[in-house]
Amino acid sequence: MEDVINVEGKQYVVFMIGKENYGVDIQKVTTIEKMMPFARVPKTPDYVKGVINLRGEIVPVIDIRTKFGMEITEETEETRIIILKINEISLGIIVDEVDEVLNLTEESIENVANFTNDLSMDYILGVGKVDGRIVTLLNLEKLADISENNERGE
């Protein structure tokens, strides 16, 4: 409850890819779904896994691992699709595991310039530090934007 009352910071949905923690702004998260069958869409970049039927709505799904050039793993019981809505565009991202919701204050978020990471810097908004854990905050606008650009380039 404390987190909710605290108006200082923002809430983030924290998820795992491999051993790393990532966070997305909870405001942008519509729902979190278990893995479901998706249909491949021809002529799209490889990280576009396909589209799913989300209660009658067709939603494209992006595989974060492929997108960021990480090692591909088998899906497990914990694999989730986080459905996001970014600037009126719905899209899902596949993650290994969804952990918790964290509250991060402005002070606890650090500029990314000091870090090197597997991800391209473009997709990182900042790095949050809570209780000795490090959470990489994703720049969702960029994620939606870039995939669109790649789309056009094809």
Partner: protein, 696 residues
């Protein structure tokens, strides 16, 4: 020909355009450098001109024509956008709104020429100084009043006069020791039922007095044919205070002006003098004070009147926002998905009652779907029918003989498309009449019949509706187009000579491209074709042009039916399911691999002496596949794209099914070979193939 049935369309479209014009003008004022706004305004003016011309509203057409001249000069940088100029344009907008209001109320545009606005427009083009801003709005007001006065003496509010009889009554009353008041009531701008409110005021007044004159007339007030104020003269025994108190107790009144009239007033014959001395110009004060509001209010007022006029004219129809139909359509789509799913439930578990219920559900959903579709579908006749008159007028104006032949008027299109297709077609027809058809003398010289033929044809072709406009005129002068393109710097001279016919024709669709030297009322400004192209592409269609020098040219518009629910053939490729719109499929055949032949390194098959190219869908769509298996037989779905046939190779067929077209969303928009997606009965998603881009 009776145009009244199109009046409603005209009014609706005009109002929409005027609203757009208003917004564009506001934006232009904010940002005078904005060329795109200027283009937008120009297009609206051009469209309005065309529409007004079609309906025979010549004053409106004249005004928009002169507007266009100014805008054209602005666009070509001959003059600069100044606030004074924007003001003039706003005045034009007001004038156009007044015309529209007249049309709503009376069915014709009225007889105000707005010569002063036209003069200002012309001055602007001639780079003369534009009059200062502050004067403008009152100018409009004045001319209106002067004009009105010309028509009907009793109508002018500024010069409120009693006629002889009324003067006598007032004079007698005065003699008998009664008071004569002139009362001007200004209603609140938010007042909804003006006539009812006025009625209450009249009743209140009549309790104490006798009303001997009302301006506007009582009938007009009852019909709400007034702005927000009216003036009455009444004869009474009561004092002025009683009146003010009574009237002030009525709600929704902004202002009441009571003037006592003396015998001298009507003896002198002119009430107007008393006005100026007793209350210094009450009405004009009111006018100038709320000028800005007034114009917007007038607009609202006009809408109200428009609505009531509609009610009386067309009681049988209801105008429904297309968005609401879309919602309805989506709901029907959902219902169909569920129905398909129910049908698919395994037969073993079915009881008879269940089967019957499902069958009944199926009947209802099918009927519901048909009904909703029908609501949205409108025959193109609705648009076509206004063209013959237009062509006749155009022909007369150009001193040409033109015969317009129309066919396929019964072809139906989705309402959204119908609403948009009118303007592009007007442009194309005018183009054909103006540029295409030659003068009578020239036609005779060339051995053609004196009368030029323009054919307008509509027909359904698979999932498309095709509209063709062709003429037997001179065709497009490609050399001239090429020359013009070089002149305007669209292409370098050396490259120009290597261009194909299609490339050259494409120049015609560039903004502001015109080969016509002389700007006529009809076309030649070069706004036509780029508007056509933009519009059609917005609707998801394409425009093609065929032309032959001396023989004529043909514009072909291909529009999607934009049906949300279609019949489709479901096929399996590899492990994936795909849907092919049934309307594009011609037949399904099975062939053995050795029937495939190679022509110019392309795979083809021969069916009944027709060579049909083969499209390996699995390769084009990169379907993951087990390469080791070589099938003994291939299933080929023959699809048609226009006249041409192609054979799509698939692995197997599932069957025919009603599917709901869903968009892939913004993120995945613009994928070439996929037209959309659909949700199958089992909840899985299948891609819908875009036959037009896949077929060879």
């Amino acid at each position: 020909m009776d145009m009244s049935q199109y009046l409603e369309i005209f009014i609706d479209e005009t109002k929409e355009h005027l609203q757009g014009l208003n917004q564009s003008l506001l934006q232009l004022e904010q940002n005078p450098q904005d060329i795109s706004m200027l283009n937008e305004i120009f297009r609206v003016a051009h469209t309005l001109k065309g529409m007004a011309g079609t309906m025979g509203f010549s004053r409106m057409a004249k005004l928009t024509h002169d507007m266009e001249n100014v805008l054209h000069a602005l666009r070509s940088n001959e003059i600069k956008v100044t606030s004074g100029l924007v003001d003039i344009l706003f005045k034009c907008l007001d004038a156009l709104e007044n015309y529209t209001e007249n049309i709503v109320n009376t069915g014709n545009e009225g007889n105000n020429d707005y010569n002063n606005i036209i003069a200002q427009l012309n001055n602007a083009v001639n780079k003369k100084n534009v009059e200062p801003v502050s004067q403008k709005p009152s100018d409009v007001q004045q001319t209106q009043k002067v004009e009105e006065k010309g028509n009907d003496n009793n109508h002018a509010t500024a010069q409120f006069k009693l006629n002889q009889y009324e003067q006598n009554v007032a004079f007698k009353a005065k003699e008998m020791g009664m008071n004569v008041f002139k009362i001007t009531v200004v209603l609140n701008k938010g007042c909804v039922l003006k006539s009812a409110r006025s009625f209450i005021i009249f009743q209140t007044l009549e309790r104490h007095s006798e009303i001997i004159k009302s301006e506007p007339r009582v009938e007009d007030i009852e019909d709400e044919k007034f702005d927000y104020e009216f003036t009455v003269v009444c004869v009474t025994k009561e004092d002025i205070e009683v009146f003010i108190k009574d009237i002030n107790s009525i709600a929704e009144i902004d202002e009441v002006l009571v003037t006592v009239l003396d015998s001298s007033d009507f003896q002198a014959g002119a009430l107007q003098e008393a006005n100026t001395t007793a209350t210094p110009n009450p009405s004009s004060e009111q006018d100038s004070g709320s000028e800005d509001e007034a114009s917007s209010d007038k607009k609202q007022d006009e809408n109200n009147q428009g609505a009531s006029a509609h009610k009386t004219k067309t009681g049988k129809t209801v105008r429904v926002d297309i968005d609401r139909l879309d919602v309805l359509m989506n709901l029907v789509s959902e219902l169909i998905i569920i129905k398909t799913r129910l049908e698919g439930i395994d037969g073993g578990e079915r009881t008879q009652a269940y089967s019957e219920a499902v069958e009944y559900l199926e009947r209802i959903t099918t009927n519901l779907h048909d009904a909703v579709m029908k609501v949205r579908m409108v025959p193109v006749e609705m648009v076509f029918n206004r063209f013959p008159r237009m062509i006749r007028d155009v022909a007369r104006e150009l001193k040409k003989e033109i015969v317009l032949n129309m066919s396929g008027e019964e072809t139906e299109l989705d309402r959204t498309v119908i609403d948009e297709i009118g303007d592009p077609l007007i442009h194309l027809l005018r183009n054909s009449a103006d540029h295409g058809i030659e003068s009578i003398e020239k036609r005779k010289e060339m051995g053609k019949s004196a009368a030029g033929q323009i054919n307008l044809r509509a027909y359904q072709d698979g999932n498309n509706v095709v509209i063709e406009v062709d003429d037997d005129g001179q065709g497009i002068n490609l050399e001239k187009v090429k020359k013009k393109a070089i002149e305007r710097g669209l292409v370098k001279k050396d490259i120009a000579n290597t261009l194909t016919q299609k490339d050259i024709i494409d120049f015609l669709f560039k903004p502001s491209f015109s080969t016509q030297e002389q700007i006529t009322d009809l076309s030649g400004r070069g706004v036509g074709l780029d508007v056509v192209k933009t519009k059609i592409e917005q609707l998801g269609g394409v425009v093609e042009v065929e032309t032959e020098a001396g023989k004529g040219s043909k514009f072909i518009i291909r529009l999607p039916l934009t049906l949300a629910i279609i019949q489709a053939l479901l096929v399996i490729i590899g492990e994936e399911k795909y849907a092919i719109p049934l309307s594009s499929t011609k037949e399904i055949i099975k062939i053995t691999p050795d029937q495939i032949m190679m022509i110019q390194k392309k795979e083809v098959i021969m069916i009944r002496n027709t060579v049909i190219p083969i499209v390996r869908l699995d390769q084009i769509l990169d379907v993951p596949k087990d390469e080791t298996k070589i099938p003994k037989q291939l299933t080929v779905v023959i699809v048609k794209k226009g006249e041409r046939l192609s054979g799509f190779v698939v692995d197997s067929l599932i069957g025919q099914q009603e599917i709901v077209i869903k968009s892939l969303g913004k993120l995945l928009s613009g994928i070439k070979c996929i037209a959309g997606a659909t949700i199958l009965g089992d909840g899985n998603v299948a891609m819908i193939l875009d036959v037009n881009s896949l077929a060879i």
